[in-house]
């Protein structure tokens, strides 16, 4: 099994990347970790005429703290992000989610930016990005533009990144004090492809829910906010009974379809169950300082 022929570039600077993506437009695909794109190329589902390999550009894999915002280069490897002390401290939900994104050998190559830009509906990181209210910085010949998750995730395997552009940076606000979080998913194996999953981040004032963001994966063309559940919990003391009750509302938030792996009904019920568990697991964990 071999990919169709392509022209290969391995630029070392962002300026070269933008020039190449601008020159080849729709014919070019950026190559990040390749853990989603190369399988599609092997099966010749994807046949890009030009590959712009981002792996030689050293400016793209930095992790930094910009005055309370976690700034991630798109080429931060998933296993590296999980181990990053800065990621764990500023943004525990991201580190928690990165445990689920694949087996170790895949996460050693796979990148945070690559998974977000690929936008697979069952991928974990888009769900985490929505729960974390990430900001996506896209760059092309006309400069940079920034998008929130609602605008970035356009549909199945589709983002707002236009030909000639690439995902340049991901910015995530630092978790507030007294924040708890969890990511859980269900699938045949933790290391395999998920059927569904829920990312939860909750900020508490004592026992009261001050802020909550819940996002589900595998139940739509992109990650879905569980707003009905969030509304039920916001401003209230999070008792076990209330959490169970609120999670039921998640059924109204999602409109999944039936596929080979699960029926729409199953995915709805799964989202309810995972939402309840994610909230409870988050509350059982440590609070941020």
């Amino acid at each position: 099994m071999k990919p169709a022929k392509f022209t290969y570039y391995a630029p070392e600077t962002v300026a070269e990347i933008i020039a190449l993506l601008g020159r080849y437009g729709d014919d070019a695909r950026p190559l990040a970790g390749g853990q989603s794109l190369v399988p599609l190329m092997n099966m010749r589902v994807a046949r890009p005429a030009v590959l712009v390999d981002l792996n030689r550009c050293k400016a793209l894999d930095a992790v930094s703290d910009d005055d309370g915002t976690l700034v991630l280069g798109p080429m931060v490897r998933q296993s590296g992000g999980e181990r990053s002390e800065l990621v764990r401290r500023l943004c525990p939900l991201l580190a928690q989610t990165l445990r689920f994104t694949g087996p170790r050998a895949v996460r050693n190559r796979a990148t945070i930016g690559g998974s977000l830009a690929h936008a697979d509906p069952v991928a974990e990181l888009p769900g985490a990005a929505l729960a974390l209210d990430a900001t996506f910085v896209i760059e092309g010949a006309n400069g940079r533009r920034t998008l929130k998750p609602d605008a970035f995730f356009v549909g199945q395997l589709t983002t707002a990144i236009e030909p000639g552009e690439f995902l340049r940076e991901i910015r995530i606000p630092k978790a507030a004090a007294n924040t708890v979080s969890a990511f859980i998913e269900s699938g045949a194996r933790q290391e395999g492809v998920a059927i569904g999953g829920v990312a939860a981040q909750i900020t508490l004032a004592g026992e009261v829910c001050q802020d909550i963001r819940l996002a589900a994966i595998g139940v739509g063309s992109g990650p879905v906010r569980l707003t009905a559940t969030e509304r039920t919990l916001l401003g209230r003391k999070l008792s076990e009974a209330l959490i169970t009750e609120a999670a039921k509302a998640a059924e109204d938030d999602v409109d999944p379809t039936t596929d080979l792996h699960a029926t729409a009904h199953y995915r709805k019920r799964l989202t309810v169950a995972l939402a309840e568990r994610a909230i409870k697991q988050a509350l059982a964990g440590p609070r941020t300082n």
Partner: protein, 164 residues
Amino acid sequence: MTTETTHVRLTVNGRVYERTVEPRLLLVDFLRHELGLTGTHVGCAHGVCGACTVIMNGETVRTCITFAVQAEGAQIKTVEGLAENGRLNPIQQAFHENHALQCGYCTPGFLMTVTEFLDENPDPSENEIRHALAGNLCRCTGYVNIVRAVRAAAEKMRSGAVQR
């Protein structure tokens, strides 16, 4: 930097190789067909089964979804690089002693995965072992003996019972 063929220079099991290849050549095919190192196997060829796992620059990677040209300048270790002075290393020996293989097709991938795993976690629980192996598929053994072999290898390596 571009187009039809590309020059690749890399180190595999301590030996430097240079070849001119098409950019679309997968690293696993490069190892097998260009270098003759056929211990690394092609299983699914789309990154699911783990049979093609090698260690590149200290970390496991799947060579069926990595291009050879991306390994320019890399240090690679394949299953051929595990034995030392013609003797099986403790992980290989433990797989042999615990019957952790039947047809053997998946074994090189398992050995490389376990090499990285035990390097980072010399005293793993059974649960940790099972999670570490979950990205490698074996259709023969049912995994029980593989888990047993990893535990045995860990014990042997910790006790230093095998001196090389």
